[in-house]
């Protein structure tokens, strides 16, 4: 584990609903946090690269094979929450340069959710 000094304390773990996303502001950037069933928390960018709107946190959480995923509430693209990789573009071209989502390192310590600065 690297130094924790650079990590932003975002919220209590209890503030996150299991298997549901929540948006957070980390150094002015919109991040989508997902608390999974096993208690782990993953963080990706909140901006949907296909729709150009900040809505990824409001998608439905699920799985594709073993990968934990989120599906965009806008046009149903699917991403791997661990890597940000777009698993299903729905045949669409993203507005942004990449179809993938940026990811942030997350640590849960003493009931608090800490997100790395980027």
């Amino acid at each position: 584990m690297t130094t924790t000094d650079l990590r932003t304390d975002v919220c209590a773990l209890d503030a996150l609903v299991p298997e549901r996303g929540a948006a957070a502001l980390v150094d002015g950037v919109q991040v989508a946090l997902f608390r999974l069933d096993d208690g782990s928390v993953l963080a990706v960018q909140n901006r949907d690269p296909f729709a150009g709107a900040n809505v990824v946190a409001r998608g439905i959480v699920g799985t594709v094979g073993d990968a934990p995923t989120v599906t965009s509430p806008m046009h149903k693209q699917v991403w791997d929450l661990r890597t940000g990789e777009c698993l299903d573009t729905g045949g669409k071209t993203p507005k942004d340069a990449s179809a993938d989502l940026a990811t942030w390192a997350v640590e849960v310590r003493a009931g608090r959710v800490l997100v790395s600065a980027r």
């Binding site: 503030a15 709107a53 900040n54």
Partner: protein, 864 residues
């Protein structure tokens, strides 16, 4: 004449940059060797090749020129060059060069003429006046759009429009004028509309339907001249009947002529009625020059449709590569698009084949006209005409010239179509005429290329990618082939559940399982996805396993259900309170206006008689709803797969004609079924008399008052595939009506598939409407008491979702933009003014984050 060149591609120059030119280039990229050739396409329009078939959608469906562009990536290939906004002026056959207007000289080894056609206008006085348009190109439509906007502003009133020509394009133009806010009169010289494609009976049926749209139709009438207003712009049209009609905007849609000037001037053979003469190889009288599409004259005919042009492009691609392909004109069919009326025909429409028999079915109530033309022994299909309901067109058109396999009248009867064509079509039958794809090619996509979904088949074969009308037939062929190949046609909802929704519903209903975790553990795998989670949420809601906002179910809900509002393109939501039956007090109307003004929301009347407020941020939803609930409103479920609204007409309370209280019945039904979760959203309509002002037969459940009681229809609407509802029961009293609707909806909840609307639910119900009537009215399965009890329990259990949420602080937590910054909201939201209100700003547009400020900004210069 030169001798035929060996098939070496070399430098290919294509004159004209339309749809068939694009097809040719795409074909070359697909089939030609990797290098050693180059194709240059020259077009005089400023655009890359675009979809002219759907041109009207620029005006009627909010599409942009970019939306209509045909597969633009072909121009990224280093072997292709596209010159737009330049025209070929000169063709030097000896030097094998063409020269463009701007002076570019292009040498060619192979020249393809694809210059298309031009819109012919009769020589009539006044056709050059400002305000007179053709309806052919992107520029034509844009000029017309600008004219209507500017002229109506100058005149300070809506424009009165006139269209000369009652063919397919003329009707599209009239519909487009209406979309732009002008009225429209169609003037047709022949004695009926679409006289090339429809017989007199079909034309008359079409006239009635067009008249219903508010378009005035004058047949057997010509335009004899146009006269200007004082300021010089067109103002009136003189007719051959000596009438004069107002005409502030005039569109000529009077046919096309081949653009063959270049070929004429260079001495190529020209057909008697114009067009560059080609044979079945599509070669002109010069062996190095080919002609395809609307500029080519094959057997003294020039085509006016894209399908034969595409077939010619395919022939030239094959020939350029040394292949043997020949062009054979396929039987043509035409379908009216973009007008909101079904009209289609194919084959021998007028029954001209010796001995041909015509079987006609006219239903003046449903306003449909259907005719099949068959051979003298009534076995072989020769043609068909469909007006008002063209559902049979994609099924029957591929059967042209083949045995029908059933009595022709069986196809036309109201409950007909029992003989299901599709799966057993011979391999060589063309199922997609736009792209010339046969049933055999669709089967090969499954057997040779491993396609297992319609999307894959479309990508692999291009079938169904132009007008889309053949997709149902393509789907049937694909499924039959998958089964024949031993590949089970998957009934799985997704990777987590191997059964369709109805089976899962039955499993869950029969068990005690009431959370997603339990259900997926018992009947599925993994942790679910955006497909199965909302289905389970809907099933649990139907089984009354708790409020949609319960924490147990929160993770299952799509964002719309999660925050009880409908997500919009910028991440904000719409707020739509229930207005049962469309009846609202003045006091409540004032509240809606005040709330919208205070929060800067965009307001409009929705398509279902409610008032929608758009642009609410997630963090504003509770405050907005608190005010609405205080004023007596409740959630309109504009977000759920559930009852949206009950539309009704004025009814007997005020209307001179109303025979029953349609508003009262609308309110009763809306309050009964509000909040009911169903496989797809549904709407109900109640009309107070047979005039049908509520358009009830276009709804999932339609109720029409008659002197004898209520008639109830089910399975209308259909979304992208519009469908009229079928009569389920008639002459019901109030209680009888409610009971029948209860049973129908409860059965739909039980047996409907995921996201299956009632239209396919009814159409595909085994045994059809007759079987449904047996179950729901005659109780042949003995379940109507159960079905009624399910709805009764729903009614007892109903609580307004927003009222419940506002009383529960836990649930309000989710209405913050950021979990770590509750006071902040999405800083990227920006609005731009439009018609006195706001919409989300596009990049580069004038905008402001506060919609109340944005609506006051000076209008942006960007025209959209």
């Amino acid at each position: 004449m030169r001798t035929a060149p060996t098939p070496v591609l070399g430098r290919v120059v294509v004159v004209g940059a339309g749809m068939v030119a694009h097809r040719l280039v795409a074909g070359l990229l697909d089939r030609a060797p990797a290098d050693g050739w180059h194709v240059t396409v020259v077009g005089d329009e400023p655009w890359a090749p675009y979809d002219r078939v759907h041109l009207s959608e620029l005006l009627t469906a909010g599409r942009t020129p970019e939306d209509l562009a045909l597969e633009p990536t072909v121009w990224d290939d280093p072997r292709t060059t596209l010159l737009t906004g330049d025209a070929v002026e000169k063709l030097d056959r000896d030097a094998q060069t063409v020269t463009t207007r701007s002076g570019v000289v292009l040498p060619y080894d192979q020249l393809v003429l694809a210059t298309g056609s031009w819109a012919w206008t009769p020589r009539t006085e006044g056709t050059e006046l400002p305000g007179v348009f053709r309806y052919r190109t992107m520029a034509d439509l844009q000029a017309m759009q600008t004219w209507v906007a500017e002229r109506s502003e100058a005149l300070g009133r809506p424009l009165r429009g006139a269209v000369v020509g009652g063919g397919v394009l003329g009707l599209e133009a009239a519909a487009a004028l209406q979309h732009l806010g002008a009225s429209a009169t169609v003037v047709e010289f022949a004695d009926h509309l679409m006289n090339v494609q429809l017989d007199a009976g079909g034309g008359e049926a079409l006239r009635v339907l067009v008249g219903d749209l508010g378009i005035d139709v004058r047949t057997s009438t010509g335009c004899t001249g146009l006269a200007p207003a004082a300021d010089g712009a067109v103002a009136t049209m003189r007719l051959s009947s000596d009438d004069e009609i107002p005409a502030d905007v005039v569109v000529f849609s009077t046919g096309v002529r081949p653009r063959d000037r270049l070929a004429r001037e260079s001495g190529l053979a020209i057909g008697e009625r114009g067009g560059v003469v080609v044979g079945a190889t599509c070669r002109t009288s010069d062996a190095a020059i080919w002609a395809i599409g609307e500029c080519a004259s094959f057997e003294n005919e020039c085509t006016g449709l894209v399908a034969p042009g595409n077939a010619m492009a395919d022939v030239v691609v094959d020939r350029l590569l040394g292949g043997p392909r020949l062009y054979t004109p396929a039987p043509e069919g035409t379908k009216l698009k973009g007008v909101g009326i079904d009209a289609a025909s194919f084959g021998d429409v007028f029954g001209l084949t010796p001995g041909a028999l015509e079987v006609t079915f006219t239903d003046p109530v449903a306003r449909t006209y259907r005719k099949l033309v068959v051979s003298d022994d009534a076995r072989t299909l020769l043609g068909g005409v469909f007006v008002g309901d063209a559902a049979l067109y994609p099924q029957l058109r591929p059967m042209l010239g083949r045995p029908l396999g059933a009595d022709p009248s069986a196809f036309l009867a109201p409950e007909g179509g029992a003989h299901d064509t599709g799966a057993d079509l011979p391999d060589d039958v063309v199922v997609c005429s736009c792209t010339n794809v046969t049933a055999g090619t669709v089967r090969e996509a499954v057997t040779e290329h491993g396609c297992t979904t319609v999307g894959e088949v479309k990508a692999c074969t291009k079938a169904g990618t132009v007008c889309g009308s053949c997709v149902p037939v393509v789907t049937k062929i694909m499924n039959a082939q998958l089964e024949a190949s031993g590949i089970a046609v998957s009934r799985a909802m997704c990777e987590h559940f191997a059964m369709p929704r109805a089976e899962l519903y039955a499993l869950v209903a029969a068990s005690e399982l009431r959370t997603f975790s339990e259900i997926v553990a018992a009947h599925g795998t993994g942790r679910g996805c955006a497909v199965c989670k909302p289905v389970v949420a809907s099933i649990l809601s139907s089984l009354r396993a708790g409020h949609v906002l319960e924490r147990d179910h929160a993770g299952l809900q799509d964002t719309n259900d999660h925050v009880m509002a409908n997500l919009q393109k910028d991440g904000t939501y719409s707020v739509i309170p229930r207005v049962p039956g469309g009846e609202i007090t003045p006091e409540k109307l004032v509240v809606l206006g005040q709330v919208a003004a205070d929060f800067g929301l965009y307001t409009r009347i929705t398509g279902a008689q409610r008032i929608g407020m758009f642009g609410a941020r997630i963090d504003q939803l509770p405050a907005i709803w608190q005010r609405l609930i205080d004023a007596g409103f409740e959630s309109g479920q504009a977000y759920g797969k559930s009852l949206r609204a009950v539309k009704s007409c004025v009814g007997s309370a005020w209307c001179r004609f109303g025979v029953r209280d349609s508003v009262g019945m609308g309110i009763l039904l809306e309050n009964r079924y509000r909040g009911l979760r169903t496989p797809h959203k549904f709407k109900v309509g109640v009309s107070g008399c047979a005039r049908e002002c509520a358009e009830a037969r276009g709804k999932d459940v339609g109720v029409i008052a008659t002197a004898g009681g209520w008639n109830v229809y089910v399975g209308g609407n259909g979304g992208a595939n519009p469908r009229h509802a079928d009569l389920l029961a008639e002459d019901l009293d109030d209680d009888g009506l409610v009971a029948v609707i209860d049973r129908f909806l409860a059965l739909y909840v039980r047996r409907g598939d995921r996201l299956q609307r009632t239209a396919p639910f009814v159409a595909e119900y085994p045994g059809g409407i007759e079987a449904l009537r047996a179950v729901l009215v005659d109780d042949t399965e003995g379940i109507v008491a159960e079905l009624e009890a399910e709805i009764a329990a729903h009614v007892d259990d109903y609580r307004d979702e927003w009222a419940a949420a506002l009383e529960d602080p836990d649930k309000l937590d989710r209405f913050t933009a950021f979990v770590n910054a509750p006071g902040e909201h999405d800083p990227d939201l920006r609005y731009t003014p439009q018609r006195g209100q706001v919409r989300p700003a596009e990049p580069g547009e004038v905008g402001h984050h506060d919609p109340r400020v944005a609506r006051l900004l000076p209008l942006t210069e960007v025209t959209r």
